[in-house]
């Protein structure tokens, strides 16, 4: 689709896959004897391996964070806004690693992979992963790539939770943590939304308790509903007002139950698109990982004690109209970091875009983020922090 690759794009990229033979014990107690992680890298790793940035993806993200897989690809990677030459995460300066998490459906081992023990697709038998399992597997990928210490680990939403987990679990392996539009744990409301989404999938007759592959079906209707609901929580009332208002597709009401308002057809479109590209079991698994995440629980629910092990500097960013992970949730993290006497900066960005804002080119957001990443480059002794 891009006739010409834009100058500030990382250009054409090819994913790589690494096969891991060493078993990984998961939080659930189950063991993945072997697994693959698919990842992309942008920029060059410097001689002393001090310029590496890890990108952690959110619920429906993957390893394709920037650039294009081919000239036919319609859209660049999901965080192309922020990753590229001269961009916020400047690939002239940094070596950027983005991977698809375990349990994903974009190439890393997950429910759609073949279970080597049974020779069948894992399906619903793929172990439910926790955020710490992802972080453990990411650390192994870092070992493979020869990265002892990340200059920064960066992520939004569920990605931000992985960043937090990194700072607690491998405090000596990252210098900076960038936690965007995230939360220290889900609220009851967040969990409730996830459960409604999971039920929509589970109750789809084509779901077959997760064995849809064996029945040659896909629970498209359920996944579509789940995505429509999820999508609602990513938008704000303001954003929907601006985007659709009460606009109709036709001139007048036609007094039927088919989608009539633009907002309805938009949701249908988003749900439809998602239901053909995403795996339902992966969606179930990812939402469970979200629900389970609560690093403070092991410290008597004391987030300050939990974060006191961290050694890195933090940037925390929230967005005013994000109600999925509202600014107050980010402020819980910030306040805990302040109480733990950690280096932290916090910006609450004015935006009408809700949770989705973290993926959008909002000028003030990019300014703050860029200023911080230039500081990361400076503190890591990388020449030309600003390009």
């Amino acid at each position: 689709m891009p006739d010409v690759i834009p100058e500030n794009s990382v250009g054409l990229v090819t994913p790589k896959t690494h096969h891991f033979d060493e078993p990984l014990t998961l939080r659930s107690g189950r063991v993945l004897k072997e697994y693959d992680l698919v990842y992309e890298t942008y920029g060059e790793l410097n001689a002393d391996r001090s310029n590496a940035i890890l990108i952690c993806h959110a619920l429906s993200g993957d390893h394709h964070a920037a650039g294009y897989h081919s000239m036919d690809e319609k859209k660049p990677g999901w965080w192309d806004t922020c990753i590229g030459p001269g961009k916020v995460i400047d690939t002239n300066v940094f070596y950027v690693v983005a991977l698809n998490n375990l349990g994903g459906c974009s190439g890393s081992t997950g429910p759609t992979s073949i279970n080597p023990e049974t020779g069948k697709v894992y399906g619903p038998e793929f172990p439910i992963c926790a955020v710490r399992d992802w972080v453990n597997s990411q650390a192994r990928l870092a070992d493979v790539l020869g990265i002892d210490v990340w200059a920064a680990v960066v992520g939004g939403s569920l990605g931000g939770m992985q960043v937090l987990r990194w700072s607690i679990q491998f405090p000596e392996r990252l210098k900076h943590a960038v936690v965007i539009a995230s939360a220290p744990k889900l609220s009851a409301q967040n969990i409730a939304f996830n459960e409604v989404a999971r039920q929509a999938i589970a109750k789809d007759p084509d779901f077959h308790d997760g064995w849809y592959h064996e029945h040659n079906t896909l629970p498209k209707a359920g996944l579509m509903q789940a995505r429509m609901l999820g999508h609602l929580t990513y938008l704000s009332d303001d954003a929907m007002k601006q985007k659709f208002g009460r606009e109709l597709r036709a001139e007048e009401f036609n007094f039927s139950f088919a989608p009539e308002f633009q907002v309805e057809s938009y949701l249908h479109y988003q749900g439809e698109k998602f239901s053909t590209r995403f795996d339902a079991n992966t969606y179930m698994l990812m939402t469970k990982a979200l629900d389970y995440f609560d690093p403070a629980a092991a410290y008597g629910d004391d987030l300050v004690a939990c974060l006191s092990n961290a050694q890195c500097r933090f940037l925390v960013v929230s967005f005013t109209t994000d109600w999925r992970f509202a600014p107050e949730r980010s402020e819980e993290i910030v306040n805990a970091l302040v109480h733990a006497d950690k280096d932290v900066s916090y910006a609450c960005i004015e935006s009408t875009s809700g949770h989705d804002a973290f993926l959008l080119p909002i000028p003030r957001y990019l300014d703050v983020f860029k200023a911080y990443m230039d500081g990361v480059a400076d503190r890591c002794g990388l020449s030309g922090g600003q390009s």
Binding site: V338, D341, Y346, A347, E350, V368, A371, G375, D378
Partner: protein, 200 residues
């Protein structure tokens, strides 16, 4: 190291090396940056202006987006050695409560504010019969962020009522310069004061 604004230069002298500082309304973070680099001070700045907040991040200081009018409940008792607030006291909703908060969080506080008792201000009101405007106070009465102007004497009376001890006071003109002549009648001749205060 760039030269520090004159009032900040006075403030920094009162901050102990290696101590913990909270800077309320920290602007672009110049003072924190200076204290960090020259005195190995640790701490946080609070700021709500977007451009200034970004400048703080560029300056490599910890800055938190937080409105002083929403309170400082997220900072623990005695978590700082010194809480600093330059040129913001007159712009908050409840300066008296904020002073209490500053001395709850910090063992000491440093406050600067413009003197409404400055002779030019007094004469402006007396002769023109209008709310005083000047280079230090460039706003109209209806759009000024300075909603709680006070004189040095007002401030000192408030401190006495609250049992706050004034450790030190430096009075300056609008260029933040000290001059012996201001000392003749500071409440009349001083435009800005820096107070170093503590709990009794």
């Amino acid at each position: 190291m760039t030269a520090l604004r004159a009032d900040l230069a006075i403030i920094q002298k009162w901050v102990k090396p290696g101590s913990q500082v909270l800077d309320l309304g920290c602007g672009e973070g110049q003072l924190l940056k200076y204290l960090q680099e020259e005195k190995q001070v640790r701490g946080y700045g609070l700021e709500i202006n977007p451009e200034k907040l970004t400048a703080c991040i560029r300056n490599g200081v910890n800055v938190i987006e937080q409105n002083l009018d929403n309170g400082l409940g997220n900072f623990a008792d005695n978590s700082s050695d010194t809480v600093i607030m330059t040129q913001a006291l007159q712009a908050v909703k409840r300066p008296d409560e904020l002073l209490d908060e500053m001395l709850r969080i910090g063992k000491e506080a440093i406050v600067t504010f413009p003197n409404f008792g400055y002779w030019k201000t007094r004469f402006y009101l007396l002769l023109k019969g209008r709310m005083p405007m000047s280079d230090t106070l460039p706003y109209n009465w209806y759009d000024t962020p300075n909603i709680h102007m006070c004189t040095f004497r007002d401030f000192e009376i408030l401190c006495r009522e609250k049992g706050i001890r004034i450790l030190n006071r430096t009075v300056m003109d609008d260029q933040h310069q000290q001059h012996w002549s201001i000392g003749l009648w500071p409440g009349m001749l001083g435009e800005i004061a820096v107070y170093h205060i503590t709990r009794r």
